[in-house]
Each structure stands twice: as C-alpha cells, then as structure tokens.
C-alpha cells in the first residue's frame, strides 16, 4: 500500500475513516476467532480428561473411602508388571492385523486407483459400505462366520490350514473362534477401510506419466512398482498403517467378542479395571503406559519411513 498517487475509485472516499482504521486490528483477530471452537473442544474433551486421568493414576485409596492424590507412581510399575503379557499381545495382534490390512488393502487400493476405470466410485463406496452397519454387529457377525463346524472352519480344516495355524499357536484343535486368529481376523476386517482409503488417495495422486517414464527407462512392470509406485505411495502406507495400528492396539471389542480369556488385550484390562474392578488408578496408569508405548513406536516409525522426504 505504498503507491499513493493512484486515483481512488469514486465509492472509496465515502467509507468512514474510523472503519478504515479499525479493520487491520480486526483482521489480526480473525484467525483466533476461527481457532476458538477447536481450541475449546480440545480443552474440554482432550486436555481436561488427560489431566484428570493423570491425577487419577497417582491416587491411592478404595472406592468406599475415596481416592486421594498421593503421588503414588508405583502404580505404573505394578500395573505394567502384572499386565505386560496383555501389552505384548495387544502390540502383536495390532501389528499382525496392520500387516494383513496392508497386504489385503494395497492390491485393492492399487486396482481402484489405476485399473477400475468407471467402476472406481462404485468400488470406493463398497469399501466404505460396512460403515453403514454398527461396529458391534459387524464384529458379532464374525462369530457366525468363524463358528465351530461352520463352512469357513470346515474349509480351513479340509485345506489343512488349521494344522499350520495350530502348530503356530494361532488356533486350537478344530476351533477358530476364541483363538488369537479370530481376534486378528476381526481387527483386520474392522480396520481395513482405514488402510485402503489413505492408500488409494496417495496412489491416485501419482502422475501416470511417471509410470510411462519408468517403462521408457527400461524398468519392467515389477521394477516400476518397486522403484516408482511404491516409494511414491509411502505417505499412504504410513498414514494407513498408523490409522490401523493405533486404534487396533487399544481395541477391546474384537478380543471381547471373538476371543477368550487367553486372548485378552490391554484394552480389555483397562475396560475391566474401570468398569468392573473399579481400580481407577491402575486403569488410568495402564492407559498412560499404552499411550506412551504407542507414541514412542509411532515416532520411531515415522522417523524411519522418512516421509518428510516425500513430496
């Protein structure tokens, strides 16, 4: 606004000078006003509960006498010492489910992005279609799918897949239900769309001419995928695996409905400590330990994947 000798438009001088002076200040405030709802939301539903949980985790007492903050950090160690198997199980189940989601989701996302043509939108709707049914009902449906003596179990048995999974300890005898495999199946199924959608988005963004350029430069289709397509889809792989792994590691519904006492995940422990045992400090401490573990793993993962290098 340093040019002074430009003749003003005839309408301009009518504006009151006060309003002209006021507007820059108002402009500066606009971003804060826009941020306000989000900040309030975070304060009320994220920051305050976190502080509350943190304080709960260092309290001692009983339900009858009430809990008091005594800075009893030993709860953390005691909780971890007692429930570390569930932590390990959570991470193994969530990790396996994430890997399975990637293996199932990548080819599908690739197909939708590059080969589907006019079926693309229909296929995307089909990916999201399960969300029209409740999460609980879909998980319960897997109870029927994997039912003892059912078609799926029968087929797996006939194909001797169960022999392998029994040997690996994923299933027991001729049962799939109430085994680790059932829980991992449920997790994989429930989180698959969260893998497919980010993968699709990043694959779809890849310029088709890059594939042509790779082919032109002596790369066979397999090499083109390895050297061009896959590296360029890394942002999708990273966000897909995070969107799958993080919620799956804290999940308890699949283990509750499809598993047994031997397949309890840390989510089940937290849930029962909060709602059945009513040992709030232990439940809160477990929640924080899980959060810390996931945060560390995710940080290491993102550093390793080097997504900041990608455009």
């Amino acid at each position: 606004m340093t040019i002074t000798d430009i003749p003003r438009a005839p309408e301009a001088p009518e504006a009151p000078p006060a309003a002209v002076r006021k507007s820059p200040a108002r402009k500066r405030l606009v971003p804060y006003w826009l941020l306000l709802p989000g900040i309030l939301w975070l304060l009320v539903f994220f920051a305050l509960p976190m502080v509350y949980q943190a304080s709960t985790s260092v309290q001692t007492g009983t339900l009858e006498q009430g809990f008091r903050v005594t800075w009893h950090f030993a709860t953390y160690w005691d909780a971890f010492a007692e429930y570390w198997p569930q932590f390990v199980r959570s991470l193994v189940y969530a990790g396996t489910a994430t890997a399975l989601c990637l293996l199932l989701g990548y080819p599908l996302a690739y197909l939708i992005a590059f080969k589907a043509g006019r079926w693309r939108n229909l296929l995307l709707v089909l990916v999201i279609a399960p969300f029209f049914t409740s999460f609980l009902i879909r998980t319960l449906a897997w109870k029927t799918i994997l039912a003892d003596g059912g078609a799926v179990v029968g087929a797996l048995d006939a194909l001797h897949v169960l022999d392998v999974t029994n040997w690996l300890g994923w299933t027991q005898g001729d049962r799939v239900l109430a085994t680790p495999m059932a829980v991992v199946c449920g997790l994989t199924y429930n989180f698959l769309p969260f893998m497919i959608l980010p993968l699709y988005t990043s694959l779809e963004r890849i310029d088709g001419r890059l594939h042509e350029a790779a082919k032109d430069l002596y790369a066979s289709p397999a090499t083109t995928f390895r050297k061009v397509t896959f590296p360029l889809s890394m942002p999708g792989v990273v966000s897909g695996t995070l969107l799958t792994f993080i919620p799956a590691s804290g999940d308890y519904v699949n283990a509750e409905l499809l598993g047994s006492t031997d397949t309890k995940m840390v989510g089940n422990v937290i849930q029962s400590q909060f709602l059945r045992v009513l040992d709030y400090p232990t439940a809160a401490a477990l929640s924080f330990i899980l959060m810390a573990i996931v945060l560390i793993m995710v940080t290491v993962y993102i550093r390793r994947a080097g997504t900041e290098d990608l455009v």
């Binding site: 310029d207 001419r209 430069l217 002596y218 790369a219 061009v228 990608l310 455009v311």
Partner: protein, 389 residues
C-alpha cells in the same frame, strides 16, 4: 546432413495407424526417419503427432502397421525393451529421487553398477553439475527440462523422442533451449524426433519437418522447402503466413498466367501443385515478406514483368524491424504485406491507394478445391478438407 550410405538405424513406420473406437487419431502412415537426423513432427493439437511419437516409444500400440528400428521389427516390444528414450512433455521426473538418481535411473535398470562417471559427464553436458543432490521440485523449469533430456540421453538410445519438450517454458528460455538441444544433437549424433506445435521451433531445429494434419502427414521436407513450396493450403497457412488469391488460368507455358480480380498474374508452372489447363481454378499464393508496397502515385516506377495487385491499405502495425500492412484489393481482402523498415514512406497509411508488386518467381499455385482457411488461426487446424491434394 543425413548419411544416406548408413541406413542401419533408420526409424521406419510402415502403414502405421491408431484408432480409438470410432476416432482415427493417425491414418495409415509411412515414414522413414534417417539415422542421425533431427526430425520434427509439426501440427496443431489433436493432429496425431504425439500418438505417432508414442507408437515409436511403445507407449501406444498401433492399430495397424509396423515400427522398425533399423532392420529390427519392434512393433510388439514393450517400451522397456526398446532402444528408444523419451523426453516427456511435463518432464515426468521422479519426484522422490534426486537429480543424480533420476539421470542414473535408466543405467541402473540395465544393471550398470558404476554410473558415477557417466552421470557426472551427463550433468556437465547439460550444465547442471552442481545440482546432483537436488530434488526435481527445487529446480526451475528450464533446469528440469535439461534433466529430462539428460535422463534420456545417458542411455545412448538409438532414437530420442521429444514430446513438446519446450512447451512449458517461457519464450526467451525456449529460444535458448532450442539452440541447446540442437547443439546436443549435433554433439551426440543421435536421431531426434521432436513433436511440436510451434512452427518456428520446428523450422529452427529440424533438418526435416513433417507437417501433420487430421492424422495424416500433409507434407514432408526441409524447412526452407516447406516454407517456399507448400503443396497444400494447410501447410501454406500453418507455416508462417500466406496470401492466397483465387484465380482463373488464362494461359499455360513455362509460366502460367492467371486472372484475379481483373488483373493478370504470372507464376512458374513448376510451382503449381494443381491442374493448369486454361479456364481452370487456382489458388495463387505469395508470402507477405516477398511483396513490395508502392504508393499508387509511384506505380510508373515499378519494373516491368512483376506481378501487380492494386488495393487500399486498411491497417498498419509497426513492429520495430518491420511494418505489417493489411491491404484490401479486388483480387482479395486482407492481404498481408511485411515491409522492412529501411526507408519508411509516410504516405503508406490506412486509406492510401497502393500497388503490391513482387517477382513472379516467388509465386506458388495451389489446388483451388481446398479451403483457403485451412491451417489459419480461425481454422484452428483441426479440420481437413477431404479431397485435399
């Protein structure tokens, strides 16, 4: 300078065509591109030039016909097995790889381990030695373009295909890159096939230009030959500007005499691409820079034997090195004349009565059955007259 004794590396297209559903992008086409030449496919968008190029690269399967590189039939080879590399229109550099790895890509795919020296030499050739570690998005358009050329050239392809490689650059940079590419081509001696819609670009760079229109090659030849002896109205209008005048043949000999707008014009018979029987119709063509403009008062001073057309100036525009005049005459409206600004006659202003005169040897004749507007801006170059040529 093409070496006619060595045809081992020629690109030969025989009866090659491409159709998409009911749309024919390229009509059956025969074309031989001599080894070591700089060949341009010139035409407006949608004329089939890029499709032709992509069929040579293997990125498009021809509907009919074959592609030979030297004696080898490569029609059914996938692109990654052809000794051909492409510089893509938008460069298509790999965004996740740095400049060094982009250039080394082709070498690595062919299993060459020690690429450092070759990539270094190539970076020097395109003057980007200090950019090896940069990512493509950190480079300017001109630099990206040079990387794209280097990435293709390092493989020493038998043929380098360039698909509008300069399209995204601004005018000044384009001119610079045109000379640069020409220099590189002379240096490495590889056959270049260059697709462009810019006639000036095609003429500056190429040894041979094929003008394409509506999926067909309209005319093929050296730039000067195409410019001086267009055989169709499309070529006459698309390459530079031509004044086309409808005329009727009066007399035929070594020179053809025609009448147009009441005046007589002469042109050499061997520059007539049409039937020259007396009474026949003809389009007489003359390039604007070949015409000299004289004020009507000085008409007496014009030498005998020159073609003359009288008219009135309707518009002039001064563009520094020359002045462009638009003249209406009984023979035709909106005739273009370019006069060098050596001695400017102040009487030559809109409204002035003038005489246009030129050496009959510069006149060419075209078949009158074609559209006079083919290849002009208003025609947009997408239509062809079915019975042209």
């Amino acid at each position: 300078m093409t070496d006619s004794t060595n045809t081992g590396g020629d690109v030969r297209l025989s009866g090659i065509s491409k159709t998409y559903g009911s749309f024919t992008a390229v009509h059956p086409l025969d074309l031989t591109i001599p080894q070591g030449s700089f060949f341009a496919l010139l035409g407006a968008s949608g004329c089939g030039k890029t499709t032709t190029l992509r069929m040579i690269a293997g990125l498009e399967d021809p509907t009919t016909g074959t592609v030979h590189l030297g004696d080898k039939d490569v029609t059914d080879l996938p692109p990654y097995k052809r000794p051909v590399n492409t510089v893509f229109q938008s460069y298509a550099l790999f965004p996740h790889l740095d400049i060094f790895e982009n250039i080394a890509f082709g070498l690595r795919r062919r299993g060459i381990k020690s690429v450092k020296k070759q990539v270094g030499d190539m970076l020097d050739l395109v003057q980007l030695g200090d950019k090896a570690g940069h990512k493509p998005h950190q480079l300017s358009g001109g630099q990206q373009q040079r990387v794209a050329v280097a990435r293709a050239l390092i493989n020493h392809p038998q043929v380098l295909l360039l698909d509008e490689p300069l399209g995204a650059l601004d005018l000044k940079l384009r001119r610079q890159m045109q000379l640069e590419l020409k220099r590189i081509q002379t240096e490495v001696g590889i056959t270049f096939v260059h697709v462009t819609h810019d006639q000036e670009e095609a003429m500056t760079m190429a040894d041979t230009v094929a003008v394409m229109n509506g999926g067909r090659v309209e005319q093929l030849g050296a730039p000067a030959d195409l410019y001086e002896n267009p055989r169709t109205t499309f070529v006459a209008n698309f390459l530079g500007t031509s004044n086309l005048i409808e005329a009727e043949v009066v007399e035929t000999g070594t020179d053809v005499t025609v009448t147009a707008g009441g005046g007589k014009l002469r042109l050499p018979a061997d520059r007539c691409g049409a039937d020259t029987r007396p009474g026949g119709k003809l389009l007489v063509g003359i390039r604007p820079e070949k015409i000299t403009l004289a004020h009507a008062d000085d008409a007496g001073a014009i030498a005998d034997g020159r073609n003359r057309v009288t008219g009135r100036i309707v518009d002039t525009s001064f563009i520094g090195v020359s002045t462009q005049y638009v003249v209406d005459s009984p023979a035709g409206t909106a005739l273009q004349v370019y006069e060098q600004n050596i001695e400017r006659d102040s009487r030559l202003a809109p409204g002035a009565e003038v005489v246009l005169h030129w050496n009959p040897a510069h006149t060419f004749g075209l078949d009158a059955a074609q559209s006079m507007l083919a290849g002009t801006v208003s025609d947009a170059g997408v239509e062809t007259v079915e019975d042209a040529a």
